[in-house]
Amino acid sequence: MPAWIVPIIAPFIVLNVVIGLVTYVTLLERKFAARMQSRIGPYRVGPHGLLQPIADALKLMMKEDVVPTAADRRVFNLAPIVFLIPCMLIFATIPFAPGLGVADLNIGILFFLAVSSMEIVGLFMAGWGSNNKYALLSAMRAVNQIIAYDLPFIFSALVPVMLAGSLKLSDIATAQSGGMWFVFYPVLGQLAFIAFLVSTLAAENRVPFDILEAESELVAGFRVEYSGMKFALIQLGEYAHIVGSSFLGALLFLGAWAGPGPEWMGPIWFLLKAMLLFLLVTWVRWSFVRIRVDQILALSWKFLLPSTLALLVATAIVVVWRYGGGA
C-alpha cells in the first residue's frame, strides 16, 4: 500500500466508524433511559430494537425537507453542515490506540478544544437563519453559554496536560500507563475530573444545561424549523460532540487504552471507558431538571471559572514543586 493513500483512507474509516458509533450511541441512550424510567425502550425493529437507529436514519432521509418561507435560505441550508464539520473534526486527533488515529498532532488537545468550540458558529447560523423567535432566543442562549463554559472546559482539560507535560494526546495517554490514571491523582485529578464533566455537560448542551433545546419553553430551540436530513445532521453533530467529549475525557482522565489484557484490547478498553462517561452524562440527563439561563451563567462565572483557574494554578505549583519544571 503506497504511503500517500493512508491520509485518504484513515479519515474515511474513522468517519464511518464514528457515524456508526454515534447512531448506535442513541440506541444505547434510549435503552438506558428506558430502564431508568421503568420502560423497555425500542424493541420492535430487529432483535431488542437493534435496528432502530437505522430505521430512524432512513425515516429522516425520507422526510420532507421543509424550508420556512421567511428563512434566510443560504444560512439555513449551510448551518447543519457548518455545525457538523467541527463535531466530526474533533475525532481527527484522538488516538484510539498507540499509533492508531488520523493525525496525532503535537498540539492535539489544543486542536480538539479549538475545533469543538467552533460548533457554535453553525448553531448560531441555524438559529439566525430559521427566522424564528424561539430559534433566535435559543441561539442567543447558546452563545452566552458557550462563552461561559468554554473557559472552565479548557482549564479543566489543561490539568492533565500539565501533569503529563505535553499537548500531544498520545503522550498524555502514555503518561498514564501503569495504572496511574490522572483521575487517581490526589485531589487535583478528582477535582479536575468533576469540573471537566460539568463543563462538558454544558458544552454538549445536555440536561441540566440544555437551555438551547429547552423544549418546554423554546419548543426545540435552534433546530425547531429543521426537518428531514438537515435535522438528522444536527442530531448527528450533537451526538458526535458528546461521543468525542467522552473519548477526550476517557483519554485525559481514565488512562485511554490502558487496561488488562493483550495490546489489541486497547481500543476496546478505550471505547468502554468512553461509553462509561457517556452513560454518566446520560444518567445525569435523565435525572435532573434544567436550570435557568441566569443560573447557568452564574454557576460558570461565579464558581466554575474561578475554581478551575485556581485548580490550574495549584496544578502548576505542584508540577513545579515535584518535577522541577519539566515533567
Binding site: 433511559a33 431508568m36 424510567q37 421503568s38 420502560r39 423567535k133 424561539y134 432566543l137 442562549r141 440536561v207 441540566p208 440544555d210 437551555i211 433545546e213 429547552a214 423544549e215 418546554s216 419553553e217 423554546l218 419548543v219 440527563r285 435523565w286 435525572s287 435532573f288 431538571v289 434544567r290 436550570i291 435557568r292 439561563v293 441566569d294 443560573q295
Partner: protein, 386 residues
C-alpha cells in the same frame, strides 16, 4: 398590548428593543390550549397577555339540553383530569334543590372516589410540572413516567368500579351508580399504601436536588393579599398562607366524619405549592383509609332502579353547590324549573380563577420560569373554557 395587564416591569436596559413572543396555543408545555403573548426584553418577561377560549365547548348550554340523569357523565368532561370532581358538584347542586337525601354509604363512596381522584390528579400535576422544568428529554420525563405509572393504578381502580378510565359518570343524583365490587376495598388499600411509599421516594428525589430547588424556590411568589384579591383557590391559596379548604370550611358528603389536616405554606412560591400538594397526597390517602374502614352498610342510592333518563325531576328552585377539587373550589350553580332538565347551569371552574393570577406574577421572571409557574398553577383547559 390589547389587554392591559395589572403589573408590568419596566426594564428597558438596552435601547428598548422588545420582542413579542407567542407561547401557545400549540406549545409543548402549555397544559392544553393556552396562549400567552409574552413581551420579552432579552430573556426577561415584561408583560404577559393571557388568551383563553380555545377549548370552549358550550358546556353550560349543553347542560340545559341534558337530563339530570344524563349530565353527570358529561360534567366529567369539564375537568377531564379530575373528572369525579365536577360530577360531584353537579349532583350536589341538584340534590340541594330537590332536597334529596343521599345514603351514608353513597356519601362515603363519593368521598373515596373524590379523594382517589385528587391523588390521581396531583400525580399527573407532579409529572407534568417536572416535565415543564426538566423537559420531555430530561429528568422531568423520568418523574413524569413514574407518576403516570402510579396514576395508572388509580385508573385501574376506577375501571373496575365504573368501567371507564377517564370520564366516569359514577355520581348520580341521590347516590352513586355502582357499589364497589368484592375485593375492591383491599385492592384500594394496597394501592394507596404503594402510592404513599412512592410519594416519599419522589420527595427524596426532588427535594434533595439543588437544581430542582433552584427552579422552584422563590419563583412565582403569590402574596397572601394578591391571593385573596384575585380569588384563587385550592392548593394555590393554601400555599399563600390562607387556611381555607371547603372540606373543612363547608363540609359536604360526610367530610366532617374524617380526620385530616389542611396543609398550608406561607411563602407562596412554586416550592410552597409543591409542598402543599405533596402534603395533600398524604391527607387524601388518610381520608380514603378512614372512609374504607368506616364504610357503612346500606343502599348506595336513594333513587334506586333508574329506568329512564328523564326519570329524575327536580322541583323549581336554585342552588349553588361547591366542592374542593384538586385545583380548588369547583362550583355548580343550577336553576331547576320542575322538569327533567335544568333551566340554567353555570360552572365555576377552579382553573379559570387560578389562571387569573398569571399576569400578576409572571412579569419580571425569565422565559423558563413562565412554564414553571404555569405548571405550578396546574390549569386544566377543559375546565377553564368549558
Amino acid at each position: 398590548m390589547a389587554t392591559p395587564t395589572l403589573s408590568q416591569v419596566e426594564l428597558d436596559y438596552s435601547g428598548g428593543e422588545r420582542l413579542t413572543m407567542n407561547m401557545g396555543p400549540q406549545h409543548p408545555s402549555a397544559h392544553g390550549v393556552f396562549r400567552a403573548i409574552l413581551t420579552l426584553e432579552g430573556e426577561t418577561v415584561v408583560a404577559v397577555d393571557a388568551v383563553i377560549g380555545y377549548l370552549h365547548r358550550c358546556h353550560e348550554k349543553l347542560a340545559e339540553t341534558l337530563t339530570y340523569a344524563q349530565y353527570p357523565s358529561i360534567a366529567s368532561k369539564t375537568d377531564y383530569v379530575a373528572a369525579m370532581t365536577s360530577e360531584f358538584a353537579y349532583v350536589l347542586a341538584a340534590e340541594e334543590i330537590g332536597k334529596i337525601d343521599v345514603p351514608r354509604r353513597a356519601q362515603y363512596l363519593r368521598v373515596v372516589t373524590a379523594e382517589l381522584q385528587r391523588v390521581a390528579s396531583h400525580l399527573l400535576w407532579l409529572g407534568t410540572w417536572c416535565m415543564d422544568m426538566g423537559g420531555a428529554l430530561g429528568g422531568g420525563a423520568t418523574i413524569f413516567l413514574y407518576t403516570i405509572r402510579e396514576r395508572e393504578l388509580i385508573l385501574d381502580l376506577f375501571e373496575s368500579l365504573v368501567g371507564a378510565r377517564l370520564l366516569y359518570g359514577f355520581y348520580q343524583v341521590g347516590g352513586v351508580r355502582y357499589d364497589i365490587p368484592s375485593g375492591w376495598a383491599d385492592t384500594c388499600r394496597t394501592t394507596i399504601d404503594l402510592i404513599e411509599q412512592r410519594i416519599g421516594e419522589y420527595e427524596r428525589l426532588l427535594e434533595q436536588n439543588p437544581f430542582f430547588l433552584a427552579r422552584a424556590q422563590g419563583v412565582g411568589v403569590i402574596s397572601r393579599a394578591l391571593a385573596e384579591d384575585v380569588g384563587i383557590a385550592g392548593p394555590l391559596l393554601r400555599a399563600s398562607g390562607v387556611n381555607f379548604d371547603l372540606r373543612r370550611a363547608a363540609a359536604y358528603s360526610s367530610y366532617q366524619d374524617f380526620q385530616f389536616t389542611v396543609p398550608t405554606e406561607i411563602v407562596g412560591d412554586c416550592l410552597s405549592r409543591y409542598r402543599v400538594r405533596m402534603a395533600e397526597f398524604r391527607e387524601s390517602i388518610r381520608i380514603v383509609r378512614q372512609a374504607l374502614d368506616g364504610l357503612p352498610e346500606g343502599p348506595i342510592s336513594s333513587r334506586p332502579g333508574l329506568k329512564s333518563v328523564a326519570q329524575i325531576r327536580i322541583p323549581k328552585g336554585e342552588a349553588y353547590a361547591r366542592v374542593e377539587g384538586p385545583r380548588g373550589e369547583v362550583g355548580c350553580y343550577l336553576i331547576a324549573d320542575g322538569s327533567a332538565k335544568p333551566y340554567r347551569m353555570k360552572w365555576r371552574g377552579a382553573s379559570f380563577s387560578n389562571l387569573a393570577v398569571l399576569p400578576h406574577i409572571i412579569p419580571g421572571h425569565k422565559v423558563a420560569d413562565v412554564v414553571a409557574i404555569m405548571g405550578s398553577v396546574d390549569p386544566v383547559f377543559g375546565e377553564v373554557d368549558r
